[in-house]
Amino acid sequence: MQCPESLRVQAYFDAEVDSVTAADVEQHTEHCAECRALLQDLQELRAAMHQELPHLRAPAALRARLTRALDQESTSESSRRFRWPRWRLTAQPFWVGTFSGGFATAAVAVLAFVIWVPRLANPLVDDLVGAHLRSLMPDHLIDVVSTDKHTVKPWFAGHTDVSPVVADFEPQGYRLIGGRADYLDHQRAAVVVYQHGPHIINVFSWADTQRGLPANATRNGYHLMFWKSGDLEYCAVSDTAPDELLGLVRLLQGLGTPDARNSNN
């Protein structure tokens, strides 16, 4: 017969109880030999698992493979996204009929070149990477230095065309360090700057252009993640790991869409 307190003792061992419960459990184990033995077992098992199981780490080959896959993902995403649909040609046979043979092929090739190639190298992606790199130059990163969202957010109202979500996520490891105005896609974009460990994360935002966002991408080791919220478009850029960058993106997305364009523009 097992002591009915055993689950609480386990929770105590796993540091899952508050101080009041902890005191309860400690008092209980003084009188209950079974639970004392349980605590001993739990400790021995933990020590054994820590000591005797191999400390596996992701092999270098896998890391390299993942980096390649993520880079490839960025490229194939954009080609998937922007390939001109074939059905347009087959669904309109009368239109196709006006071109014959090689002429049609040449026309399609030109069309593909005009439409596809420039999109593959999306200028917005390059602009954002450029803006991110510029921001890392001395004295370019921050216009308004503050860890307080109530300081950063009103500052945007006078200096940019948009009013993005601003929040500090210090407990989650993303510290708000300030804001900056930047010129992007013919607009005064707002940039919220976060620090994550040694990495700087720039979160750009601009008014929805209705042109659709590029796919998430990796350029020269910098990751870009795009999303839309309300009538603003956002892009987070950083050299931090993709999963870490996603963490901030998800936190920002979780704040909802309380914001609109600045009314004073």
């Binding site: 098992l45 054994a48 191999p54 596996l56 999303w227 993709p242």
Partner: protein, 169 residues
């Protein structure tokens, strides 16, 4: 990528071979990168491990449908050996390897749903709430599975050591 090691370790316990684990991690990371899976709560590690686990079950279902693998339980005993055989650790003494093998194969022999909570708790040092999120079960279930996994492992381990309790410094 700070959580990559955790994803890889977890994948190694889930998958049947190191190659499968590599594929699993890649699939999960790409899924995470594409943003298909919403982040629940704020813990990135728990979120990534959830995706690893989901990818594992998706792959397993596909293989079972194609009749490539029998039910996973029949593989459990072999899993542990495969895991060790493929990860030679030249630095450790042979005695330590034997102990690893014992403990590792015992853990590998636990039922899947017990093993995963034990691994997430002891190896990945996750709290009950995050473990519940990853394994998609209520908190109470996490606690009872953890208790059963630990008690079973302790018993089997003692049996392996000829009933002599091991003193752990």
């Amino acid at each position: 990528m700070p959580h990559l090691d955790a994803a890889y370790r977890f994948a190694r316990w889930l998958a049947r071979s190191p190659d499968d684990a590599d594929d699993l991690v890649q699939e999960a990371l790409l899924r995470a990168f594409r943003g298909f899976d919403a982040l629940r709560g704020s813990d990135v590690k728990a979120w990534l491990l959830t995706i690893v686990r989901n990818c594992h079950f998706t792959a397993l279902k596909q293989e079972q449908r194609r009749g490539l693998v029998p039910l996973p339980e029949e593989h459990d005993a072999q899993d542990g050996h495969a895991l060790i055989a493929s990860t030679p650790d030249p630095e450790s003494a042979s005695i330590q390897r034997d102990e690893q093998r014992t403990l590792e194969s015992l853990i590998a022999g636990l039922p899947d749903d017990h093993r995963e909570v034990l691994i997430l708790r002891e190896i990945e040092d996750m709290d009950y709430r995050d473990i519940a999120a990853v394994t998609n079960v209520p908190l109470g279930t996490v606690m009872s599975r953890l208790a059963r996994a630990r008690s079973a492992l302790k018993k089997q381990w003692l049996r392996h050591n000829d009933g002599v309790p091991r003193a752990v410094p």
